[in-house]
């Protein structure tokens, strides 16, 4: 096997913190590679995937509804004074729909999901890790990665775009209520104006964004949970790290995707 000499103390290449960060990045990269390797290999855990879609998608609806509705109303109320200065309040539906579809709905959905779903995945898998449930799956000759990680990451990747459209719809409803009260615009007229300026590129870019955000939330939550250290403290840290890291990555990805979309536009 290996040699029999062992250093008396641990040695670091750069420093303990930096070595840990680079090791974490490398392990994260390997975790993502493993996901892409296992996602195409049979057997597929179909029932667990459907259960995760239900947990991640359906159970997020109340929170998403409330947040989307408030976002629509607040953004309409805050935009009105600026537009009314130029006598352009009739542009409100177009402005709101473009802002909601291009930026607000994807970002609000992703941030809410990062908090709710990401922390849930991190805590659940972290708890399974520290109570040896993941080890138990492994020693019983089953593949915990396929059952726990692949299903959750696929579910978040598919559900976040669906939730984004729902958020956009609810935000537009909130906006319509406010506009209807102040400008007496009818629902049909509001919707006509709202969709007047929307292009396919807006829809495609938002779907692309939310696919990336969904994947990020799922993979970060699973990675942090799967690698939770021993003890209940590790579970809390995994949940916390899942939220913080996925939110940070979502903002970085937002910048990159917006740049790419503007380049195409």
């Amino acid at each position: 096997m290996a040699s029999t000499t062992r250093p008396a103390t641990e040695k670091y290449f750069l420093s303990k913190g930096l070595d840990g960060t680079f090791r974490d990045m490398y392990n994260g990269y390997r975790f993502i590679l493993r996901f892409f390797k296992e996602v195409f290999m049979s057997p597929f855990e179909g029932r667990e995937f459907v259960r995760q879609c239900y947990e991640i998608g359906y159970k997020s609806l109340p929170l998403i509804s409330l947040t989307g509705f408030i976002t629509g109303i607040v953004f309409t109320k805050q935009s009105r004074p600026s537009l009314s200065e130029f006598g352009a309040t009739s542009w409100l539906p177009s402005l709101i729909s473009i802002a909601v579809l291009r930026a607000l709905a994807p970002l609000v959905t992703a941030l809410i999901a990062a908090g709710k779903v990401g922390s849930n995945i991190g805590a659940e898998l972290g708890s399974m890790k520290v109570t040896e449930q993941i080890d138990a799956m492994e020693v019983s000759a089953t593949n915990p990665f396929k059952f726990l990680v692949v299903t959750r990451v696929l579910a978040t990747t598919l559900m976040i775009p669906v939730l984004m459209f729902y958020t956009a719809f609810v935000a537009l409803i909130g906006s319509f209520i406010d506009i209807h009260q102040n400008e007496l615009t009818s629902f049909v007229s509001f919707m006509e104006k709202a969709f007047e300026r929307i292009t396919f590129l807006d829809v495609y870019s938002s779907v692309a964004k939310t696919l990336v955000y969904g994947f990020t939330i799922g993979i970060v939550g699973c990675y942090k949970g799967f690698n939770a250290s021993q003890g209940t403290e590790g579970v809390g840290k995994a949940a916390n790290a899942a939220v913080v890291l996925s939110m940070f990555l979502i903002f970085v990805e937002e910048i990159v995707i917006v740049q790419i979309t503007n380049f195409i536009r």
């Binding site: 096997m1 290996a2 029999t4 062992r6 008396a8 103390t9 641990e10 057997p43 708890s127 399974m128 109570t131 040896e132 449930q133 080890d135 138990a136 799956m137 492994e138 020693v139 019983s140 000759a141 089953t142 593949n143």
Partner: protein
């Protein structure tokens, strides 16, 4: 109370053979040169204080951890040299009973037992799966808990279900991690009896990790006493505890005075 019949041990067939095993975590050396043989049909108890690396030993045997040095041969396979596929095949022959049962919280008892069965034997129909689940649950005396969630079970019941979940795959080797830790004396005796029943009914060879001398005496054909990452003594219970070694005496007196 201790129900123990002599089980036939095949002294010509080693199911586990460990030589010069070393394992460290960071700067902490946990295992420092372990040699151990387990024969077919034999129950070997690994005794020692908490934190001496007993659990690390069985995690290496099951391939959950990699050794730093030494060889670990299980059923003719060098565990750390196996491919993922071969390791999966070997794990079908090894049952691992975790300290707290490690039952899957999100599934019922039935779901827990079906989980490894469905994924390893995909050609089984519903009737065969139900029969297998009911048979092992009956074996551990918990058929009535079949539709309960793990959160509704006591510590002893969780351990029994954990053992049933490993037995459903018909393992040749059983690894028990602290099977009586945290249990009352009566439940501990029940678990000890269950370990002996498993050995007799399924003809398994076992390693039982414990610091409970009653468990060691009740279940072990042979005892290996671990201290500071090495085996201090190996032999029958009476041979090991007949020793004048102060460390062994202190361990014995502490357990039985308690």
């Amino acid at each position: 109370m201790i129900n123990r019949e002599a089980s036939p041990i095949d002294r010509n067939t080693k199911v586990i053979s460990i030589r010069g095993l070393e394992k460290s975590f960071g700067t902490m050396d946990v295992l420092k040169g372990i040699d151990l043989d387990v024969y077919k049909g034999e129950n070997v108890v690994v005794l020692g204080r908490s934190g001496t690396g007993k659990s690390v030993l069985i995690k290496i045997i099951s391939g959950l951890l990699k050794p730093d040095y030494g060889t670990v041969n299980v059923l003719g396979n060098e565990v750390d040299l196996l491919s993922d596929k071969d390791l999966q095949a070997l794990r079908l022959k090894i049952g691992f009973s975790f300290q707290n049962g490690a039952l899957y919280d999100s599934m019922t008892v039935r779901g827990n037992l079906e989980f490894p069965l469905k994924r390893n034997f995909r050609n089984l129909n519903r009737k065969q799966i139900n029969e297998a689940v009911e048979e092992v649950l009956e074996g551990v005396g918990l058929l009535q808990a079949i539709d309960q969630m793990p959160s509704g079970l006591s510590g002893g019941q969780r351990k029994r279900i954990g053992i049933a979940r490993t037995l459903i795959l018909r393992p040749e080797i059983m690894l028990y991690d602290e099977p009586t830790a945290g249990l009352d004396p009566i439940t501990s005796i029940e678990i000890n009896n269950l370990i002996n029943q498993v050995q007799q009914k399924y003809h398994t060879s076992s390693i039982i990790i414990t610091h409970d001398l009653t468990c060691a005496k009740a279940t072990g054909d042979r005892v290996a006493m671990m201290l500071d990452g090495t085996f201090l003594h190996q032999g029958t219970f009476d041979e090991v505890f007949g020793s004048d070694d102060p460390a062994v005496k202190a361990f014995y007196e502490y357990n039985f005075i308690q």
